[in-house]
Subunit: 225 residues, 2 copies
């Protein structure tokens, strides 16, 4: 680390020799950051739940899934977009809430604040393709479009692929990007696990529905012969 | 590069400061490597074409797509598997044909021989999940399984996601991994482009087929009401 001023190495992230020039320490506590994210998400979900209920023939499961698509879509398009398009977020003299979110999350995975190219590449695909596709999926369920289940499978598989690659590259690079076991398990493992088990459940559900549709088509063809 | 013996820096790859201890130079010319790959692929495709023709009600387009799935599946499971499970391939004193393939390809993208973690992570997913799924897709088309189109969409999207990430990370890391423009355009761009346009065409085709099936299901439901 010869030649690197000590001030650039003072940060709460792992590994300690990560160089973050002009890093501005956090001002909000982790609990506030999580509280605001949780509160706003709950508000959005409640609002979507009410709106979704106004569409005809929407089951409760459909409503839950619509809420997920809007929640994950907005997370991609607002939270993650901010990260992608604000590479110098950690240098802001008066940090915004979103800058604080990414400093806090980087305690669980410093590859974010360090702008690891795999993480940035996954975010490019997530924000440009999956974000809009999530909102389209919510709309497709509500309006009963024929492509609804297909789109849900496509986006969920994309989320699963991204999450798998995110975990595998961290493992290959030494799995040493968490400030402490607490941040490792709560942010890196627990928070990301939602993008494993929810897309998995959606893929299984939509896969079954589409296979049922293909079976009916087969039968219709056989009858018409 | 202080402390690195000059011998470890003598290799044909870019960037020049890539360190490959005990690198054994290539023995086969590029034309032989490509010729064998092309010849074997052609043999496999001819064999699959004949076998596929023996299944009932298989169209010509189906036969072409079955050939693609077997070709890409075997490429994943043999060629790419060898790379993944032989990290020291470039040190072999008497290099095998497969070791030569990966030295040759690394002229187009040295991240392979350098074992870049993104490339390795993409290969993990490609080999463990997509390889077997490609062969299953060929089988599913031949035996007209109801999940045939869904599986084809899932695997093709996985290939597209992997290829997109492969290109984006290279761009983010400086796009400086080709030994020359010839290798850049022929190996990195042209060879990989097959895993862009073929999966894209398959996704579009299978997507249309499945939407048609969903439409028939909708109509059947409406009638039975």
């Amino acid at each position: 680390m010869a030649g690197v001023p000590v001030s650039e190495l003072i940060h709460p992230f792992s590994p300690k020799d990560l160089i973050l020039p002009d890093y501005v320490p956090m001002v909000l506590p982790g609990s506030t950051i999580l509280g605001v994210y949780g509160g706003v998400s709950l508000l959005v979900i409640s609002f979507v739940w009410i709106i979704a209920g106004r569409f005809p023939k929407i089951s409760k499961v459909d409503k839950v899934i619509i809420c997920w698509w809007v929640f994950t879509g907005l997370t991609h398009l607002i939270l993650e977009s901010y990260y992608l398009f604000t590479p110098e977020f950690y240098k802001q003299k008066t940090p915004s809430y979103l800058a604080e979110v990414w400093k806090e999350y980087s305690k669980g995975d410093s590859r974010y604040i360090g702008r690891d190219s795999t993480v940035v590449a996954i975010e490019v695909i997530t924000i440009l393709l999956e974000g809009p596709a999530c909102l389209l999926a919510a709309y497709a369920i509500a309006t009963r479009k024929v492509y609804s289940h297909l789109l849900q499978i496509a986006v969920s598989l994309g989320q699963l692929y991204g999450t798998a690659l995110y975990f595998i590259t961290s493992y290959l690079d030494g799995d040493n990007f968490s400030a402490s076991p607490y941040y490792y398990y709560s942010y890196y493992i627990f928070a990301n696990s939602f993008w494993v088990w929810i897309p998995s459940l959606i893929v299984i559900r939509s896969w079954k529905k589409l296979c049922a549709a293909a079976r009916i088509q087969d039968r219709t063809k056989t009858k018409s012969r």
